[in-house]
């Protein structure tokens, strides 16, 4: 076993005094049961009431946040789409497709973040408000990490475009300054605003040259003394070469231009063009990539990765992906300056800049309280074919491991379990086993839910689970005295034993009440009648009653005899069948032929001979009388049939 990298965090179960009591626990698929085992002495000598609570400790807490359900459901659709799109395209269009998928995931996170933000704004309860706000910041961090991974891994931007992407990334996520910009721009006289130069700096730091120049022009028109300086600075900004997205210029070309421009800036700084205006001088220093000048604007950048991107923009615009790690590390060191230690988010971003994919996923798994993020990100990266070489020493591979964890969490939720099914489907190695174990544990409160679960199992040929669900439903119906329903369920499960049990109940009810219940079902059994012998008998016996009711006596008699001679009827039921023969024997016209009468007699003798004398003695008078009556009726019928058959042959 590998040693854990970090001490596992301590979790306090509210309501449990872990210092004074003993705890026991039991693992579940995605949660844990905890209960106290040390109780006060008899009579509660300690005076402390011993609690008898069982606590459920959940691993994936975020699953239970109402607003996030939108995230789970919408991303489920994207996930399925990604699995289906498998290898549809090749090469470049495949990459465009994957980037699009990644963007879709991000837009879902963003939409969810906005909802959460709305909820936070409208929440009156301060505790609730802070809870929502925390969620907003977690979601925003997730989006930040995802976006960076999209640039570095999914899109795998090359030198040149890489910097442009990173700039977009910073602009999108460092939005604390937006309010300040708005405030300055909406004021009557922007250039006189106390934050004016801050805003210009922000634009320069983020490489938003057009906006910075626009502001400078305001300064120029308001302040005639600085017109010249402004014009020069404006010119420098305008001429600054930027990497192009297309292939219109080569990297060397770009580097040459940039070198030239850099020297020009250098000249203006050295001949003291901006000496009279400290603001413009510092901007010029920034343009030159002066680290100290940039670091002075620490407050405006707020984060080390903003610093990193600004620094790259003005000193290494053609940075290659593999060089990122050096700049990233030094930028973080410079920015934090030993004052504070890096937070989990910093470590994650740093790992991404270092192209340590596995480290990113690992750190995210530790820092975030959900599996959603790592499961989906890993799946996407796996589709980019970036994770193939890596195998875990347990389970199958990292993608599958994380998906299994996430889906298990979904299954432990009261209503999100349906989403989990599709995730398990896309785990080739253990998905099926997990699904089998989880699906049986879903509470089935209505038939409709049972049907939905059943459909999931049937689509995947999970016969064992189908049987078990049908059996549960059949048992429930039986307990509720719904024999018809119970029979339907056992027919669906092709469960012969249970069908026999229910058929027996039907027959017992018949013996007690003298009539059948649920005729609509029994009359329409069709081929499913053949599921069990007893069910066949039930169906046939009911058919006998129908024939009898329709006065088709000879057909009824034939069927009745067949039920006994072919041993379809259980022995215990023979007496009832023979009694049913009585009215047929007593009809005016002769129904049973001589041969049939002999058969009937044999059946009666078989039945009585099987019983010992002692048993016979114990049988009540009714039974003996029945036998006597039958014998008499059989004898009389025989007499009549001999005469009838004799005369027929004679004539």
């Amino acid at each position: 076993m590998e040693e854990p990298d970090a001490e596992p965090p301590l979790m306090v179960v509210p309501g449990v005094d872990s210092a004074a009591r003993q705890l026991c626990f039991e693992w579940g698929p995605a949660e844990m049961l905890v209960c106290e085992t040390l109780f006060g002495g008899r009579g509660g000598g300690e005076g402390r009431p011993s609690s008898s609570c069982v606590f459920v400790v959940r691993k994936d807490q975020d699953i239970y946040i109402q607003t996030l359900r939108k995230l789970f459901n919408e991303s489920h659709g994207i996930f399925i789409g990604l699995q289906r799109s498998e290898e549809e395209f090749a090469g470049k269009s495949r990459k465009t497709q994957l980037v699009q998928v990644s963007k879709n995931y991000r837009s879902v996170i963003r939409a969810c973040m906005e909802d959460m933000h709305q909820a936070a704004v409208s929440a009156r309860d301060p505790a609730l408000h802070s809870q929502y706000s925390t969620q907003v910041s977690i979601l925003s961090a997730m989006e930040l990490i995802w976006n960076l991974c999209e640039i570095l891994f999914v899109e795998a931007a090359v030198a040149g475009p890489l910097l442009l992407r990173l700039l977009d990334w910073v602009r999108l996520h460092v939005c604390d300054v937006d309010n300040m910009v708005r405030e300055v721009l909406s004021s009557e006289n922007p250039s006189k605003h106390e934050l004016f130069w801050n805003v210009v700096d922000v634009f320069v730091l983020q490489g938003r040259m057009d906006e910075a120049r626009h502001l400078l022009s305001k300064e120029a028109s308001a302040n005639p003394t600085s017109v010249n300086m402004c014009r020069i600075l404006d010119d420098l900004m305008k001429k600054m070469p930027v990497p192009s997205l297309g292939n219109t210029q080569t990297l060397t070309e770009m580097e040459l231009k940039w070198q030239h421009w850099h020297e020009e800036c250098q000249r203006y700084l050295q001949d003291g063009t901006f000496a009279s205006n400290s603001h413009m001088e510092s901007i010029c220093k920034i343009l030159l990539g002066d680290e100290n000048a940039i670091l002075e604007k620490k407050e405006l950048m707020t984060t080390w990765y903003h610093f990193l991107v600004t620094r790259l923009l003005y000193s290494h615009p053609t940075v290659k992906p593999m060089e990122l790690r050096f700049y990233a590390q030094s930028s973080m060191d410079l920015f934090l300056g030993g004052e504070s230690s890096p937070e989990p988010l910093d470590t994650i971003l740093m790992a991404a800049f270092e192209f340590e994919l596995h480290q990113v996923i690992k750190e995210c798994s530790i820092a975030l309280s959900n599996w959603w993020f790592v499961a989906h990100l890993t799946d996407l990266l796996d589709h980019c074919k970036l994770l193939q070489s890596h195998n875990l020493y347990f389970g199958s591979n990292m993608r599958e491991f994380l998906l299994l964890e996430y889906a298990s969490g979904l299954f432990s939720h009261y209503s999100l379990w349906q989403l989990g099914v599709d995730y398990f489907d896309h785990c080739p190695e253990y998905g099926r086993v997990y699904l089998e174990l989880h699906i049986e544990r879903i509470p089935l409160n209505t038939e409709q839910k049972a049907l939905k679960v059943l459909r999931i199992c049937e689509q995947r040929q999970m016969h064992e689970q189908v049987r078990s669900i049908c059996k549960i439903m059949a048992m429930k119906a039986l307990r509720n005295n719904r024999l018809g329903s119970a029979l339907s369920w056992s027919i669906r499960a092709k469960d012969a034993a249970f069908a026999t049990l229910i058929s027996d109940r039907f027959l017992k009810d018949y013996c007690e009440k003298g009539c059948f219940s649920d005729l609509d079902l029994i009359d329409n059994l069709g081929p499913s009648m053949l599921l069990s012998d007893r069910l066949t008998f039930l169906g046939k016996y009911r058919e006998f009653h129908r024939l009898y009711g329709e006065k088709r006596f000879s057909e009824a008699a034939k069927l009745l005899l067949m039920l006994m001679t072919a041993h379809i009827a259980p022995c215990s039921f023979w007496m009832t069948l023979l009694t049913d023969a009585l009215p047929l024997l007593e009809q005016k016209e002769v129904i049973f032929s001589a041969e049939q009468t002999y058969e009937l007699m044999r059946c009666l003798e078989d039945l009585t001979a099987g019983k010992s004398d002692k048993q016979k003695f114990q049988d009540d008078d009714v039974e003996t009388m029945k036998v006597e009556m039958l014998r008499l009726a059989l004898a009389r019928n025989l007499a009549r049939v001999i005469v009838k058959e004799g005369t027929l042959e004679g004539s």
Binding site: K70, N73, T446, R455, R482, S485, D518, N524
Partner: protein, 374 residues
């Protein structure tokens, strides 16, 4: 498909119903109700897709449904019907049947009347004795409910006790109910039978039983042709659409292969019955259009304005009959379109009124299409 707008609602939607329009209304419907299932906390919600959204300051996309109000509901919402403009009858998995009133002046919902455990198993008084009420249909003021207990209840909105109860009406689960005529109802059950009940008769027996032959595939939904009452459509567990002519025979006139899993709902378009809509567990929603096979004929919608249609009325009628009842494959020119391209989870419910379609899914989303025939 740009006309469709979706909203994720963080609860699995089991039912979606348009609020009926007042008789003289010319506008398309703009308010609908949804019910959820399989949540710890189920809800009835009222949504608006009308111009109200434009007024909203949040600058949201104008077509997106806006929540007007919602209320907790005990148990899964199994079925739901508007009784009139303000009242909704809701069937619960606990066996309760509740009428909710939507107060339109202050946008609130309240429980107006409740029949506790209208459906129950052996012991009604036991704490868990309720049986799921699976279907409800109303024709103001009458309400008919059916349930897993095989019972049929007839209520009146203004009476506390059931007007009529048929215990053990069916030995299996009743899945859905609809009115055939004012005094007759149709039910479908889990052993593939379609039964007609005449509520005037005191006998607790169906007046007619129709059944699928052979496999006894459970039927989940039923709807009657709005103009020709003898044409009935049902949907089964195997996703098959069956069309029945209840004037003749005991078997369906035609069986149409449709979805790959349970068909949860089937609806004729109320004013344009050449169109039929079905939705299914497999995540698809189909639009069945038979109007193309008789494209020459004028639509029913504009019938009143032209005198010529009057003379050809007889032939129109016949062509419509053949549209649903003909099982001649050469003549059968039914156009079928799947309205959901990337299907994933079950579409549990749909409703159509005028040019508007609403449907809800297990993926916790509701979708509205306001230009169905565009």
């Amino acid at each position: 498909m740009e006309d469709v707008c979706a909203k994720f609602v963080s609860q699995k939607v089991s039912k979606a119903r348009w609020r009926p329009l007042p008789a003289a209304a010319l506008q398309p419907p703009d308010v609908f109700a949804t019910g959820s299932w399989d949540n710890e906390d189920n809800r009835i919600s009222i949504w608006s897709v009308g111009d109200l959204g434009n007024v909203g300051l949040s600058g949201e996309y104008q077509g997106e449904p806006q929540l007007l109000c919602d209320i907790r509901h005990n148990g899964d919402v199994m079925d739901m019907q508007f009784l009139d403009q303000e009242r909704i009858v809701v069937a619960s998995s606990t066996g309760n049947v509740t009428i909710f009133r939507h107060h339109q002046n202050n946008q609130t919902l309240s429980a107006n009347q409740r029949w506790e455990k209208a459906h129950y198993h052996v012991d009604r008084d036991a704490s868990c004795g309720g049986a799921a009420c699976t279907g409800v249909i109303c024709s103001n003021p009458e309400i008919v409910t059916v349930g897993e207990d095989g019972r049929i209840n007839l209520f009146r909105a203004d009476q506390k006790d059931a007007v009529r109860t048929i215990d053990n009406a069916d030995s299996s689960t009743l899945h859905a109910v609809t009115f055939l005529r004012t005094t007759e109802i149709l039910t479908v059950n889990s052993i593939g039978q379609l039964k007609i009940w005449d509520l005037r008769q005191q006998r607790n027996e169906p007046s007619q039983i129709f059944s699928l032959t052979g496999d006894r595939v459970p039927l989940h939904c039923v709807d009657r042709h709005p103009n020709q009452q003898h044409i009935v459509a049902t949907g089964g567990q195997d996703g098959m659409l069956s069309i029945w002519d209840i004037r003749q025979g005991t078997m369906p006139v035609s069986l149409l292969n449709a979805h790959e899993a349970e068909m949860w709902e089937v609806h004729f378009h109320p004013s344009n019955p050449d169109h039929l809509f079905t939705c299914s567990e497999d995540g698809s929603l189909w639009h069945w259009d038979t109007s193309t096979s008789v494209s020459e004929k004028p639509s029913f919608l504009h019938q009143g304005g032209r005198s010529t249609t009057y003379f050809s009325h007889n032939t129109i009628n016949q062509s419509v009959v053949s549209a649903w009842l003909s099982n001649d494959p050469t003549k059968d020119r039914m156009e079928i379109t799947n309205l959901i391209p990337n299907q994933t989870l079950s579409v549990n419910s749909l409703d159509i009124l005028g040019p508007c379609l609403v449907y809800g899914t297990d993926a916790e989303a509701i979708y509205v299409n306001r230009h169905l025939f565009a």
